[in-house]
Symmetry: C3
Amino acid sequence: MISRYAVVETTSIGAGSVVSDFAVVRAGAHIGRGVVLHPHVFVGDGVVLEDGVEVFPGAAIGREPKRAGATARVLSFARSLTIGSNSSIGAHAVIYYDVVIGSETLIGDSASIREQCRIGSRCLISRCVTLNYQVIVGDRTKIMDATHITGKCTIGSDVFISTLVATVNDNQMGKAGFVKEGIRGPEIHDRARIGAGAILLPGVVIGAEAVIASGAVVTKDVAPRSLVMGVPARVLRQF
Amino acid sequence: MISRYAVVETTSIGAGSVVSDFAVVRAGAHIGRGVVLHPHVFVGDGVVLEDGVEVFPGAAIGREPKRAGATARVLSFARSLTIGSNSSIGAHAVIYYDVVIGSETLIGDSASIREQCRIGSRCLISRCVTLNYQVIVGDRTKIMDATHITGKCTIGSDVFISTLVATVNDNQMGKAGFVKEGIRGPEIHDRARIGAGAILLPGVVIGAEAVIASGAVVTKDVAPRSLVMGVPARVLRQF
Amino acid sequence: MISRYAVVETTSIGAGSVVSDFAVVRAGAHIGRGVVLHPHVFVGDGVVLEDGVEVFPGAAIGREPKRAGATARVLSFARSLTIGSNSSIGAHAVIYYDVVIGSETLIGDSASIREQCRIGSRCLISRCVTLNYQVIVGDRTKIMDATHITGKCTIGSDVFISTLVATVNDNQMGKAGFVKEGIRGPEIHDRARIGAGAILLPGVVIGAEAVIASGAVVTKDVAPRSLVMGVPARVLRQF
């Protein structure tokens, strides 16, 4: 069912799909079967939405990265974007080009997934979360509201990251300009759990099953199966 | 005044209301008198907007909760939603079904109000704030930008919660899956004030008129009329 | 190239500009040459977009401040708004009236720039950042994702503010109502660098080139070229 108030330039739309009022689907997009596009959704050329994907009002899927005067990093990206079957994209979420998202993953309202991110299946990337460029996320990982995942961060499977967690990748805080070699995102291993409001400094490695207490400021690596707490974070116990 | 570029399926629109270009109003919605819907607004079926409500560009009112593979909680909701007279809803805000908002309350741009929330009158729920499911808020309470209110949190009247405050409701950080009995949101009593960047752990009770300093990590209950500070928070004085 | 599915009420559009599907441009707006308006963009009357500006999907440029029952401050603003040449405005960003933005500045997705803000050239105001009312920002300053800049904050040139930083301007946390004289935003001087998750209390002055460590809670002024750290922040060294 395609609204007569939608602009649909592609012919590749599977059976049972819905394109609602004022949605825009560009030529070259591929829409699977049983896909639902709510009102005011934008889908760019080259985007692939697999069967059963649902996209809530105002989401923009297929945005080019933009370099302004102030952006130090040179941007490169492939003009492709795949969202796996039965995943859903929240209202006003923005998915950039050169992204692959697995199946049954939920992207929250107003979340942002930047270029060259790879997200597994059955993940929950909650409301207003940012995944900056080149972030890798495994399967069944949950990242809660308003958390910021910095560029080049790698996150394993079955990880839990609570709300308002900050991660950074540049020890110089921009002072040196963008020096590619100096940029190291945190590395968060399988089944680690990060508490609300924690801060992870550049390049720290959080071992498997480690637990970071709420509000901790993590300045160095955390061994697997250890609990750290405080500002700066210290080991409280191993388990 | 209804734009000829809007899709309006309801006939229940009061005198003096404005529906702007590319807005969508579904059948069964009830729009009072003097309501203003800016461009690109979505209003779902069953939504009631009382007299004088103003809805800014791109807001989506009436969104169904969505359960993906990664969501542990089973979702249930009533397909109703009432926004009281003279309240306003910010640009790109998202209001889920099964929500009641009082009169003269302001919901900020990009805020999110989830299913089964109840918000009083003359409140300010500021920009990018999330109220997760089953949150209760009294009257004249202010919650500032980007603060995250977790599911099942209860908040009294005349409360002030500053910016970037984190609240959580699950001591296990998702480890046990979703166990309904284990989920306890914080309880914030009348006239309490919570400083910027504070973190409230699951189930803590913040007494009436208590003051939580900026950056405090609150791990246990705070008595009425006391000031706490630090990581973890300790009582500095009572008043 | 103006989409036949756009509503364009102004006649002042320069050569080579693009207005995409379902965009709305009100009468009295002035659009320069080579401007690109993506789908679902809103541009209000009186807005000036200089040559080469790009506006991503769903952004709303020209929003009136709204006073609800809960807003203590009386709002005043000029109905003008200028965005300098080659700047870009992210998807779902909201720019209020009475704002001036310089050239080659990038405003991120879902950012909010409130009334009476002045932003220089070649700045990066990243995703979900709020600049509340009457904020002044110099040139080449970067403010990273989800950071909250409070009303009446002044920020110099070449400043770096990391992600999820909180700034506040009211020591009373709303207790006294809005007393104009009691409101003092922080003052951040040229080349200062503020770490992730830091909190700046009302009226603190951050000296030129000072460095605030991640997670610091800054309760008093910081001298130029000094490094502070901790909760509350203490001087670690000067340089």
